[in-house]
Symmetry: C2
Subunit: 429 residues, 2 copies
């Protein structure tokens, strides 16, 4: 059994972007990707909202997403690979308090990164979208502590993409470069061995220096010079077996799909004048931030909400959406702002697992004992995957800096555990 130069655990968008960038930098190395599913992107990637924005309060999150989105744009426009990327924009509906929090972040992004955005008055939004902006007198809205829409902020450089197309793009590139992939192979354990084996049963002993030398799978052992964990929400479970901390926790995230059948809903979905697509932007309601993602090609809305306390940190092999989460949760809030959804029930729904970084909401990319961990994208894996892959590849090559798409220099250790340098993110949604 020969040793690979790198084995990457996880063929989701993060794993395949990482694989692709490693192979691009090292064409002659043997790089293997393994995944328990039978195709690329079948884990949490497939359960994503597949939307992107560059509106983050932290410099690092901004850089990761902005450069990744630029790259996807380049792939679609210059390379001619259809990622089904549509620049529908993001529309934040803000209460007066939300607006107070958002304003300094926007000013900062405008000054530092020349971020473009537009402000809309509540009345203008009401007439364009048919959104209810004044909830005064609505007892139910009051009970739910829902707030009036004070303003709207529209970000044009944002939109939707097809997660599967992005994953397939990386998969094809990786294979073209000579990378290997094995699907249907489940990693059960990390293998820890002494750096200098003595051949004594029970190694490694604590007085030996030891390292991760590969993975144990249900199809046998795979040895590698470097083992790269990009298994999303499954990362902490694997890392626990060798006592390495990554500050990642799994959490369920549910998405409900509602058809734009009724005329009022069709009209909402195909709201003109915000973007050149001719559909409503990805819309974020005032706190609690219920999300409305347009899916114009399918003529549906995707509705979601990332709930915090008391939603469990829980690893589930097949997380299920909960009917009541829509009916007593999302629907109740949604219909107060968008009465167009009255009596609408989802025709479909799905649930995936967030891999939340509980320290600061940023990804982690670090190496310990020949094990590289790439994860913790905290629900924005697709919109940051290209940058994260480049950073992981730079770490793999022992470089201090990665160059993100658009030649943007990024210090690799900024996403590590020990040399971490990120500001807490204020705009997690």
């Amino acid at each position: 059994m020969s040793e690979y130069d790198a084995v990457i655990v996880g063929a989701g968008v993060i794993g395949l972007s990482t694989a692709c960038h490693i192979k691009q930098k090292n064409p002659s190395l043997r790089v293997l990707v393994v995944d328990k599913f039978n195709a690329a992107g079948q884990g949490s990637t497939a359960k994503s909202m597949s939307a992107f924005r560059c509106l983050f309060s932290s410099r690092v999150n901004y850089l990761l997403s902005d450069s990744s989105v630029d790259f996807y744009g380049y792939v679609q426009k210059e390379l001619g690979v259809d990622l089904k990327l549509l620049m529908v924009g993001y529309l934040w509906l803000l209460s007066i308090d939300d607006y107070g929090e958002m304003t300094p972040i926007l000013r900062n992004l405008e000054a530092a990164n020349n971020l473009k955005y537009m402000e809309y008055e509540a009345d203008e939004l009401a007439s364009r979208l048919g959104v209810i902006v004044h909830l005064a007198g609505d007892e139910e809205a009051e009970l739910m502590s829902l707030k009036d829409v004070y303003k709207g902020i529209f970000i044009p450089k944002a939109g939707i993409v097809d997660a599967d197309c992005v994953v397939k793009f990386y998969e094809e590139e990786f294979l073209k470069l000579g990378g290997e992939i094995r699907y249907g192979v489940k990693v059960e354990d990390l293998i820890a061995e002494p750096c200098k084996p003595l051949g004594i049963l029970g190694e490694p002993f604590f007085w030996q220096e030891s390292r991760v030398s590969g993975v144990k799978t249900d199809c046998g052992i795979i040895k590698a010079k470097k083992t790269i964990l990009a298994a999303g929400a499954w990362i902490p479970q694997l890392l626990d077996t060798v006592g390495v901390e990554c500050f990642i926790k799994p959490k369920k995230r549910q998405v409900f799909a509602v058809e734009a059948e009724k005329p009022l809903l069709r009209r909402l979905l195909f709201t003109e004048s915000f973007n050149s697509v001719g559909c409503m932007p990805f819309t974020i309601l005032p706190k609690p931030r219920v999300l409305v993602r347009p899916f114009p090609v399918e003529e549906v809305f995707w509705l979601s909400y990332a709930d915090d306390f008391p939603r469990a940190f829980k690893l589930e092999e097949d997380p299920q959406p909960e009917k009541n989460f829509y009916q007593y949760g999302i629907y109740q809030v949604l219909v107060k702002y968008f009465p167009q959804f009255k009596d609408c029930r989802p025709y479909s729904s799905f649930a995936g697992l967030y891999e939340i970084n509980t320290m600061d909401g940023h990804p982690v990319v670090f190496e310990e004992k020949d094990l590289i961990v790439v994860g913790g994208a905290s629900g924005s894996g697709i919109m940051k995957a290209d940058a994260i892959g480049r950073i992981a590849a730079a770490l793999y090559n022992g470089e201090d800096y990665a160059f993100l798409y658009g030649d943007r220099k990024f210090r690799v250790s900024d996403l590590s555990i020990k040399g971490r340098r990120v500001e807490p993110e204020k705009l997690q949604i």
Copy 2:
């Protein structure tokens, strides 16, 4: 079913110290402690090495342990409660590299806290303890990368105590003050409820503000104004159910007991002139730091080592010591420095769970949604329990500062998650 003012989960040394200090500050409140075991301190407290030192590199760790140890001294001397506390001191055997790391820490503690310590030359240690200080030419020692002893540092304000006596002291005090304890009650879940219940099935919904309102146990539900988690290594499992992060991971720690039967071992155990007890100090070998804890009353040594990578983070109900961990691990290192242990096998052994704080090795004391978390003592729970209990009680009372024994002011938020202010600890052993 009436609501308690506070329910504390865990009757270990941290839980009972917390209970005691809360009740002392609030004599009229109804405070309940529950524990799955049938007596106090039967979890990881019972599996502790029961030793204490004030030698920590971080200001916070120093304060927590120094004030707690002062308090235990006061309890034994002034209150006349026998905690079996013996000031045997700590002796660090240091390689030249270890010494280089230790020196600035000692200088700093001496300047800031007037810490007393003595330096011993290697030859002096060899003659007093019969320790081998030169390993040159020993192939096995070289294979294990063991280093010569360059110097020894002796800390007089350090020693051993009986964990059970400390726990019983807090238990009695708490009961005297009118506190309630229920043993044999296992907490299965935290209860999350809306702050303003509407009486609708499925509450809390995400648009409601919610809180932890008590615990579900195998003997029924217990409601409380504040729920206090002091369940050591079991804390993260309970917190995960409501999606709260505490940065604590469980890890097994093993202790092996060897009788001081042979004359050479007896002579080692009862080494004179380091302390007034007339026994060897708690001794730390050069890296990897194998620990030798004297137990003069029982005429035994306790031997231990806190292994890092690749020891799993793993929660076990009944962790077991591993024979090979002694035989191929501890023994191999120990016998190179202390040949007196040649051919000695343990007559007994036990294993407990560390509750490691993976951020910075300090305890956490924080509140979220009426839930107070007190834990992460990272293997130094007993030597810090009094201070931690006082800080938790101050947090319970909504005070910004706690007053540790000896009137030392401590900012409660320094051990929180959000306002955390601690330096990474360099002397974890």
